[in-house]
Amino acid sequence: MPTKATLLPDEFTDLEPFAADWVLRTEPERYAKRLSSPMEQMQAFYDAAFVRAEAAIKYLNQFELDNLPEQAQNLLLLLYSLVMVSFPVEVWKQPHVPDAGAAYLDLVREPVP
């Protein structure tokens, strides 16, 4: 089956402008993206995605989690990025965790999806 032209399902084309940046397959990629993104960019993504998130979850819940079609997988990854940027946006008002310095915590292996 050929890869679809859009990353996200048709119902969520309004979020497609954010897909290239925030549909990221792994936690380390999402974490690096969060650390390197300006606050305005994360805020814009958060504002757009947050209001659609409940609908997105409802949409995704209709599928077997182990059998998500490709665009649905991407939508779920977009939601993981939403959670990721929520910390800078809702809590810290900056990309990095304050007082964290150079401390890191690597997720060795994540459950997929």
Binding site: I57, S86, V91, L105, D106, V108
Partner: protein, 419 residues
């Protein structure tokens, strides 16, 4: 205002007179000589948790564990007889590390039918027997039965795999773990198979970081900004932290804490992402049904309706923390040097049934990481100043009783070994 009932003697700490209440020294966390002594006195003699049976599901499943503190690497493997065994990760020929890929120091996992050394092709069965020597006729009468992999004591408790590096462990595993462990037997650990394993090298002595997780006195202060609102943060800060229950069990110790004990109502102040994904620091709001009738008797020892979590610290370096909403995590603190250790924080959830449940786990996992990063950096800062030796007496309050106990037990073990 006291929310927890302290013992009649007036404090948790004074319920254990041998602990004392005076200032303590942290020499045990900054002295290289003490670190060397800990290797032998503690890490080569105690039962150490290295993983869980789900990591070796099939015949031939294996994983390796690097134990810098004991100057070795261990292979854990399930044999064709279904038995799980542990071996030192070393070939009997000329000592090459047996299981490794590009980077010898990296832990491995996989499935195999036998172990083959990449240097000269010697082969070992899954039960450790030496089965093949390349060009055996070139050797001078080698009896293969004498050159199997060096086996390590291994035993399993509630699905947790422990090894013991001594020739003959002083106690069987379940006896070593003792009453604190017996109190949580029957908890459905084996049902919580959705795993998020985190790790980091922290530039602080292993015991200092362990201290950060065995007291929550710091939580309203260090993690202040992570409260849902400034008002909530201030309220928590002013109330301060009080453990529901502290208990010492020989070498081991536990703390029971309040937490989110009910799903937040529409009026409760909750972070927007938490409300959206129905999750947060204390885990997914919607508890899986694990078929657990009654909690094991060791959980929620205060029998409090406000119970949120119990944290069980097993000597020397292993924590099981069980959260009320049916998930748990483990912490391991693997010493690397006096001034550093490998920290492992592993979260265990029930397998998610749909995307919504998976997303709730993502929020819980990310929240855990945000809090841990604050802890990690703070402890690196702490360790550097302890090394100055400018101050050698440190004050511990009643809520820090577990910190007091850990350092005492460690010092007692080292003294007894050296004595």
């Amino acid at each position: 205002m006291a929310v927890a009932q302290k013992p009649n003697v007036g404090s948790w700490t004074e319920a254990y007179p041998e602990l004392g209440t005076g200032p303590i020294s942290y020499e045990d966390s900054i002295s290289p000589e003490f670190f060397e002594a800990e290797r032998e006195a503690i890490f080569r003699r105690c039962w150490l948790n290295v993983g869980r049976v789900e990591q070796v599901p099939r015949v031939g499943s294996y994983f390796t564990k690097e134990l810098a503190v004991a100057n070795t690497s261990i292979i854990i493997v399930r044999g064709s007889d279904q038995k799980v065994r542990a071996f030192h990760n070393i070939c009997r020929h000329r000592g090459n590390k047996l299981v490794w890929t590009d980077h010898p120091g990296e832990e491995q996992r996989g499935t195999c039918q036998q172990f083959a050394c990449k240097y000269h092709g010697w082969r070992y069965a899954l039960d450790g027997k030496l089965t093949f020597i390349q060009q055996e006729e070139e050797f001078f009468g080698v009896d293969k039965t004498h050159y199997g992999l060096v086996e390590v004591n291994l035993d399993v408790w509630e699905g947790f795999i422990f090894i013991n590096l001594s020739a003959a462990p002083a106690q069987p595993l379940r006896e070593f773990l003792g009453e604190m462990a017996w109190g949580i037997e029957g908890y459905p650990f084996h049902k919580l198979t959705q795993v998020f394993p985190y790790r980091a090298v922290v530039k602080a002595n292993w015991k200092l970081f362990m201290d950060a997780f065995q007291e929550f006195y710091h939580a309203p202060v260090l993690h202040r900004k992570q409260s849902a609102t400034p008002e909530a943060a201030q309220a928590l800060y002013q109330m301060g932290y009080q453990g529901l229950w502290y208990q010492l069990f020989g070498f081991h110790r536990m703390v029971s804490s309040m937490g989110r004990f009910a799903v937040p109502s529409a009026n409760d102040t909750v972070k927007p992402i938490d409300r959206l994904t129905r999750s947060g620091l204390f885990g997914p709001w919607d508890e899986p049904d694990l078929g657990l009738g009654e909690l094991p008797r060791g959980l929620n020892p205060a029998r409090s309706p406000m119970w949120g979590l119990d944290s069980f610290q097993f000597f020397p370096n292993f924590t099981i923390l069980i959260w009320k909403p049916s998930w748990y995590l483990t912490y391991h603190y693997w010493p690397l040097t006096t001034d550093s250790h490998l920290f492992e924080g592993t979260l265990y959830f029930a397998p998610p049934k749909n995307a919504g449940e998976r997303l709730a786990q993502e929020t819980a996992a990310l929240t855990f990481k945000e809090f841990s990063l604050q802890d990690g950096n703070t402890l690196e800062a702490t360790h550097t100043m302890l090394k100055s030796r400018v101050v050698d007496k440190f004050l511990l309050c009643d809520q820090e009783i577990l910190c007091r106990h850990l350092h005492k037990v460690v010092r007692d073990w080292v003294s007894a070994y050296q004595g």
